[in-house]
Amino acid sequence: MVARVQIPQQAKRGEVIEVRIVIQHSMETGFRHDDVGRLIKRNVINVLSCRYNGAEVFRADLSSGIAANPYLQFYTVADSSGEFEFSWVDDEGARGSERRSIAVSG
């Protein structure tokens, strides 16, 4: 699963930073049929979490109500230099993750 993550590379301590992530995933609803009329099994990313230096700062429980190629934008406080780790899992158990580092000054 391909994902694009955008966070600032540098931030001042205490600054509220914007985090954006978009994951390439069909978010199959389970309500569509294929060419021969069989139901296509539901397969959505059901959970996505964002950890900042090991501590979870954001988690989203998603469903088929979220558009294909799910996009999320949220915020967090930059309190120390380190690493953001994004991880997600879909109904078929496929996992994905992304890492980004941030340098916090001041």
Binding site: F58, G65, I66
Partner: protein, 148 residues
């Protein structure tokens, strides 16, 4: 006189459907989907702001932004935000779990909508109270209905 009475009757008939619409702005606490989150606690309107376009051409991807008025401190922050759909086959669209480290209680995403409907956001604060906002979206092309 006959024509005047007729016009008055028409005006009355047109005015009536507007009433249930405004009444819907209130969250129904008996809604089983909302109850599953609130466990029966009262849900008050306010604090939450749910932004959705009034008109969406394509229900497969509708931009959504939800924000909550909160200082986001250890003592007073937003614990979670839940999104509910009135007409989707899966009414509970998403739940976002935040904390004091979020800094700002705001989440944006893109949602699927199976037809014109009212979408409701319910936020749970650290003091255990629930607040909500809802937005009505007119959807021209529904998600989940087409086979494309």
């Amino acid at each position: 006189m006959k024509r005047r009475a007729f016009l008055a009757g028409i005006a009355g008939a047109l005015a009536v459907p507007a009433l249930p619409g405004s009444a819907c702005a209130q969250v129904n606490p008996l809604d089983p989907n909302i109850r599953a989150v609130t466990k029966g606690a009262p849900v008050r309107p306010g604090k939450v702001r749910l932004e959705l376009p009034q008109l969406a051409d394509n229900g497969n991807s509708v931009p959504m932004k939800v924000s909550v008025e909160s200082p986001m401190t250890e003592a007073d922050h937003v614990r979670s935000i839940h999104l509910f759909s009135e007409r989707n086959p899966v009414p509970r669209m998403a739940s976002f779990h935040l904390g004091p480290r979020a800094g700002r209680a705001e989440v944006s995403s893109r949602v699927r909508l199976a037809g014109s409907q009212r979408v409701t956001a319910v936020a749970e604060l650290s003091d255990g109270s629930f607040w909500s906002d809802s937005a009505h979206v007119q959807v021209t092309l529904s998600a989940c209905m087409d086979e494309s």
